[in-house]
Symmetry: C2
Subunit: 228 residues, 2 copies
DNA sequence: CCGTTTTGTTTGTATGACAATCATCTGATC
DNA sequence: GATCAGATGATTGTCATACAAACAAAACGG
């Protein structure tokens, strides 16, 4: 019980993170969850009051998010949550379509056996999560899965890029996890990736990763743009 | 003469860009040219005095550059110009090795004939620049060449990523242009890319682009890390 | 109803202030 | 002379306030 308590308190106690980082995380999460929809205008004074921070700190956080591409400049009239057009989405998925195979390739090159094993285990957890139906659990588990691959690939720069890119399309993907057909498809695709990784088969793994991205793309895209 | 004068004054006259953007550009250029070497600590007060700006604006610019990865956090002790390790450099070139072929592919898909023609023309200019020997001219011309490809590819997001990635490795590449062997090699590689593009041959163009990145990688890497 | 002026809102920039943190120097003690 | 504690200083993090500039919307006059 002491463990549980410590675990739940640790993140909050004596958080030495600069305030602007907390602000960034807060805003990022809000965008990720849809609390801040694309196109929403961000008025500094309002945010200051809601977050209870000074304009100075808030603006620094905004600049950082702006540089990440999540917020976009609106003339001289402040910032808005970026609206990802269909063309943007296609471009993002094209990029992911080459970055994720690269990550998988580097995972095969650099990850020791125990990490491969752990990845396989995590893929089983993910499979169960897909079947269980809990959307939040799916998202969390999938994130863990991806983190393992990216960390194992020993390419933090690509990891960073992918995080930013996926955040950009999070508004598109939000409702996409729910669809049952896509779920079983995802399971098969992930199985293929993991299987190829276990065999240390780069070509197959890259192909599987690319296919997975391509399918995610049509799923997210049809979800966000075709629906009327 | 009026033209020359206007050209050199234009960037300064009535620039409605926010001050922080000017600061960013100034710092970026300083890093690019080596005036600010990797590892240099950035002290806010000093920079304020040198640039004649307030700490508020400066800090916002710093946050933005930090988000771009050019500046890195040093504990709680301010910012430094990022030092690209050998591993980092390899990773960056791996990423460029998949992004640049993608861009070339999208150029073939999306660029109209007149842009292809203009690109070919620009490649001739670049070739001449390589032979002339003027380092600054080479860099400027090459940048123009790249800009054309990236713009023609209609993928501004990838363009943006590439700009940031290449800026990161600019300290490595700086002395690399000078070497004569690399120059003639570059000419051949770029010719191959352009030729494939003119033929609208995706496979060949991607292969040529990948090869070009790979060769740049060994050149920059041997230059920066192997030399003692 | 349209064009102009006024007003209000919001961002951009600057200044001054203070707390917190970390580095370095200093001095006392053994 | 070495080591440790405390004093000192430099630097960042955060805040409140102020004002100019740009822009939007409302008010006004024709």
């Amino acid at each position: 019980m002491a463990n549980l308590l410590a675990e739940s308190l640790n993140p909050l106690i004596h958080e030495p993170a600069p305030l602007r980082n907390k602000i960034m995380n807060s805003l990022r999460r809000a965008i990720e969850t849809g609390a801040l929809e694309p196109g929403t205008r961000l008025v500094e004074k309002d945010l200051c009051e809601k977050l209870n921070v000074s304009r100075t700190s808030l603006r620094e956080a905004l600049r950082q998010l702006q540089a990440e591409g999540i917020l976009t400049d609106l003339n001289n009239r402040g910032l808005t949550v970026v609206t990802v057009t269909r063309a943007d989405a296609e471009n993002i998925y094209r990029i992911r379509g080459v970055l994720e195979p690269l990550i998988v390739e580097q995972f095969i090159e650099n990850a020791p056996d125990n990490e491969v094993k752990a990845l396989k285990a995590q893929s089983e957890v993910l499979k169960k999560a897909y079947l269980s139906g809990n959307a939040e659990e799916i998202v969390a588990t999938k994130r863990d899965f991806y983190d393992r691959i990216c960390t194992g690939a020993r390419n933090p720069i690509a990891f960073d890029l992918l995080k930013k890119l996926t955040l950009l399309t999070s508004p598109l993907r939000r409702s996409s996890v729910v669809r049952k057909e896509r779920r079983s498809q995802s399971i098969a695709e992930i199985d293929a990736i993991v299987a190829a990784i276990v065999n240390r088969d780069k070509t197959a793994a890259k192909a599987a990763a690319e296919k997975h991205v391509a399918n995610s793309a049509v799923s997210a895209s049809s979800n966000a743009f075709d629906a009327s």
